[in-house]
Amino acid sequence: MIDKRVATLAEAVAGVQDGDTVLVGGFGNSGVPVELVHAVLDMGARDLTVVTNNAGSGESDIAALIRERRVRKIVCSFPRSTGSVWFEKLWRAGEIELELVPQGTLSERMRAAGAGSAGSSPRPGRTRRLRTGRRSE
């Protein structure tokens, strides 16, 4: 019998390891899995690469992970928003790495991974700056 239900948040996030890449849903305050992020915070995993739309705000969820120095790198579209104090503080101190990815590209890169594709070309590279250091043909 297939049963994927688990009883506790701790069971839900069991097995998350130091150095893992973690995708976190949500757009601003909408759809953020707040309780699951706090469960990861409680279990103590560190050196995480977090992939999400916003780099957290206030003191909750993603901002709390950043504040507690659990996030080595964040891959996101909008690092700065109202209340994104912890990201900005660590960024200025050189304590967190940022990979800035446009929102559509972020979504498309995850879609490509899910589809088992080797990559994709989601839009024309129109400017030299966009192409710098990347493969374009």
């Binding site: 239900r5 996030v13 390891q17 759809g31 498309e108 966009l130």
Partner: protein
């Protein structure tokens, strides 16, 4: 070069874990979302080795309209009510 236009090659973004919030789930992990809170959930569930989902409530198997299921349970590993 595709149809005479240059494109930027983007790498797929694989992950170890996805943390997703949905609205309802059955025990197979079929998911429906609540309005705009859906956002990145469906795509993230497919891109990670382990997809963990928090929902508002569980429902009986068979009670979700198959036409309305957004993320099929095959992409989901664990579901918890939170």
């Amino acid at each position: 070069m595709i149809n005479g236009r240059r494109h930027v090659f983007e790498q797929p973004l694989h992950a170890d874990v996805a943390l997703v919030k949905a609205h309802l789930a059955d025990r197979w992990g079929n998911l429906v979302y609540h309005s705009a809170a859906r956002n990145f959930g469906p795509v993230m569930a497919t891109a990670a080795r382990l997809a963990v989902v928090q929902v508002s409530a569980f429902v009986e198997l068979g009670s979700l309209d198959p036409e309305a299921v957004v993320t099929p349970g095959i992409f989901v590993d664990r579901v918890v009510v939170a």
